[in-house]
């Protein structure tokens, strides 16, 4: 079946068999990417539909039912599938609501980082010279820095809030976009079609928006996916340190922090949000890897 696919004209060597094997691998990667995207979509649906999906109010305290282990029938006859925390709140409902914080902060941070990083990276690659040196030195300086310390400092100044978190986490990631896009633009800039557009009177803005940007779009998507995993973990880390989303709003990192004191007696408080966080981070970053294999194998190892 696979061997009936005609060999593409640009294939230089290799038998039809090898091509078919390559095709099978590509199809497998496509399926994996689809599965990864489906997971993110599911998480999005869970986050959006939290009020209908959560069995309990995530902030409602029930002091008589504190630290209850996971059970299918509780005092009121309703299930506490993942147990309750130190204030008697339902852990499952809090994990479901926690997805909102992770996704909103994660996605918004990726947009912030992507816009800043892509703009600076494309500018550096396209303009070159002093502009390039300044931007890349800034990038080096940021990489030469345990960023979490700076994030903590900034949040301590401005106070923890959604916008602050999004900007800080977003800006912590701009360097990845800038470095990779810059090197791609450097190559693209010297291609004939750029000269041709210039010769035809096309403006710099037109060259960048209509010709450079579409060429680096797939790279941008790959970096953004990998950055999403990083942003979600960073948000959880900051919430864990008490600098992210503040209680009583449920966030995975905050829940892990709250459960820390009760690890010995009520392991479920920290463990479940942590497992969901780990799974999310793993699936999203793997999806990024698969996307890269599919769209842009040359990025491997960066």
């Amino acid at each position: 079946m696979a061997s009936s696919i005609p060999a593409p004209a640009f294939a230089d060597a290799g038998s039809v068999d090898a091509l078919a094997r390559g095709g099978a691998r590509a199809r497998r990667t496509v399926r994996l990417v689809m599965a990864g995207l489906a997971f993110v979509a599911l998480l999005g649906i869970v986050a959006a539909a939290a009020p209908w999906l959560a069995p309990h109010d995530p902030t409602r305290q029930a002091l008589r039912g504190r630290l209850a282990p996971p059970t299918r029938g509780a005092l009121d006859g309703r299930a506490r599938l993942l147990g309750t925390d130190q204030l008697g709140r339902d852990v499952l409902s809090r994990v479901i609501y926690g997805a909102r914080v992770s996704l909103v902060v994660g996605l918004a941070a990726v947009v912030v980082g992507g816009v800043v990083g892509a703009t600076l990276g494309i500018t550096a690659g396209f303009r070159g010279g002093v502009t390039d040196s300044v931007i890349m030195t800034l990038a080096d300086a940021q990489l030469a820095f345990p960023f979490i310390l700076l994030a903590i400092g900034i949040i301590a100044v401005l106070g923890p809030s959604f916008p602050t978190l999004i900007v800080v986490i977003g800006l912590s990631g701009w360097v990845s976009y800038a470095r990779i896009l810059r090197s791609q633009v450097l190559v693209l800039r010297s291609r004939e079609f750029v000269d041709a557009i210039h010769a035809l009177g096309g403006s710099v803005g037109r060259v960048v928006l209509r010709h450079i940007l579409p060429n680096v779009l797939s790279t941008l998507v790959v970096i953004a996916t990998l950055e999403l995993a990083r942003a979600i973990v960073l948000e959880a880390t900051l919430s864990f340190l008490g600098l992210g989303i503040q209680p009583p709003t449920p966030s995975w990192g905050g829940m892990i922090q709250e459960g820390r004191e009760y690890l010995d007696t009520a392991w479920w408080i920290s463990t479940f949000p942590g497992l969901v966080l780990m799974l999310t981070s793993l699936v999203v970053s793997r999806t990024g890897d698969w996307l890269r294999d599919l769209l842009d194998p040359t990025l491997r190892g960066e």
Partner: protein, 308 residues
């Protein structure tokens, strides 16, 4: 030789600019974060007392002057006096540095010593059960949030199995869990990269030639393969050493490890500017020096790198 010197000069310049930028950013952020004086005095302290303390700390002067004084002092190794500990900030940070270095080096060597053999083995026995299992663990290790990994280790190995203490610094058993936690990401990254680096070399023509000549398999692996796969492994290993310093902040907090990462976080809560500045400066300089050293080693090992 000239090429090497020019290469090193450019890298050195960048490293120095990075140090300066880091210093400036730290100064700006810490000065924006509010006035520490009310924290130092009782709430009913008279205004004259507040003014006196502000003057004593140099906080009454214009910001550019504060900055100039700050930069000049750093050049002389003077980071000011800790507001919280009431002794020179440099001495405070130096007191905590040992714990961080101990933890960092342990994690690093643990990671490298475990990960490189695993990576090589996985590559040689590609697609075996061990390879798949090792790479699955490595993937999880790379994706797992450091702080949660620490919590899991405490839960499983300390509270349930009672093998190690939950935190603090003491004998060797205190070191195991923090070192594993901090080293997990590094270990996973090194194992994966070693595997792919070795696989790439194993496909090279000269390996086929060596085998065709009848060279023993273990010689092919040790002499022909590892030597050529070493370069990317050395690079990633060095780079990972730098990221350990950043991860130390979280790991030290989870395990109550008395290092400069935890000191920095506590000092931010105390608004102890001089200590934060000194701790961040130290971390950044260590990071920059390590990266510079890797670049230099790489430049000597691989002539192609000098051209970049």
């Amino acid at each position: 030789m000239r090429a090497v010197l020019g290469f090193l000069g450019a890298k050195l310049l960048r490293a120095l600019v990075a140090v300066w930028l880091v210093t400036t950013v730290v100064f700006v952020v810490m000065r924006l974060s509010g006035d520490p004086v009310p924290l130092l005095l009782p709430p009913d302290a008279p205004t004259s007392e507040i003014m006196r303390v502000r003057r004593e700390l140099g906080l009454d002067r214009a910001l550019p002057i504060q900055y100039a004084v700050f930069a000049g002092n750093i050049l002389r190794g003077d980071f000011g006096r800790s507001i919280h500990f009431r002794e020179p900030a440099f001495a405070v940070v130096r007191g905590y540095l040992g714990a961080t270095v101990e933890l960092g080096l342990t994690s690093f060597f643990l990671a490298a010593l475990v990960a490189v053999p695993i990576g090589v083995f996985s590559a040689i026995r590609r697609n075996s059960l061990v390879d798949h299992a090792a790479m699955a663990v490595a993937l999880v290790g790379q994706a797992a949030p450091t702080f949660y990994l620490g919590i899991l280790f405490i839960l499983l190995l300390s509270l349930k199995a009672d093998l190690f203490p939950t935190g603090g610094r003491g004998d060797v058993t205190h070191l195991v869990l923090p070192a594993l936690t901090l080293g997990a990401f590094t270990m996973a990254s090194i194992a994966r990269l070693t595997r792919s680096a070795v696989l790439e070399v194993l496909h090279a023509d000269y390996i086929r030639t060596a085998r065709a000549k009848g060279v023993a398999e273990w010689v092919v692996i040790t002499k022909h393969t590892l030597k050529n796969a070493a370069l990317p492994i050395v690079t990633i290993t060095g780079l990972q050493f730098g990221t350990l310093l950043g991860g130390a902040v979280v790991t030290e907090t989870v395990f109550a490890w008395p290092g400069i990462g935890r000191l920095a976080i506590q000092s931010i809560y105390n608004r102890d500017y001089p200590v934060v500045q000194c701790a961040v400066f130290f971390s950044a300089v260590m990071f920059i020096v390590i990266n510079f050293a890797i670049d230099a080693i790489y430049g000597f090992l691989d002539p192609r790198a000098r051209l970049r």
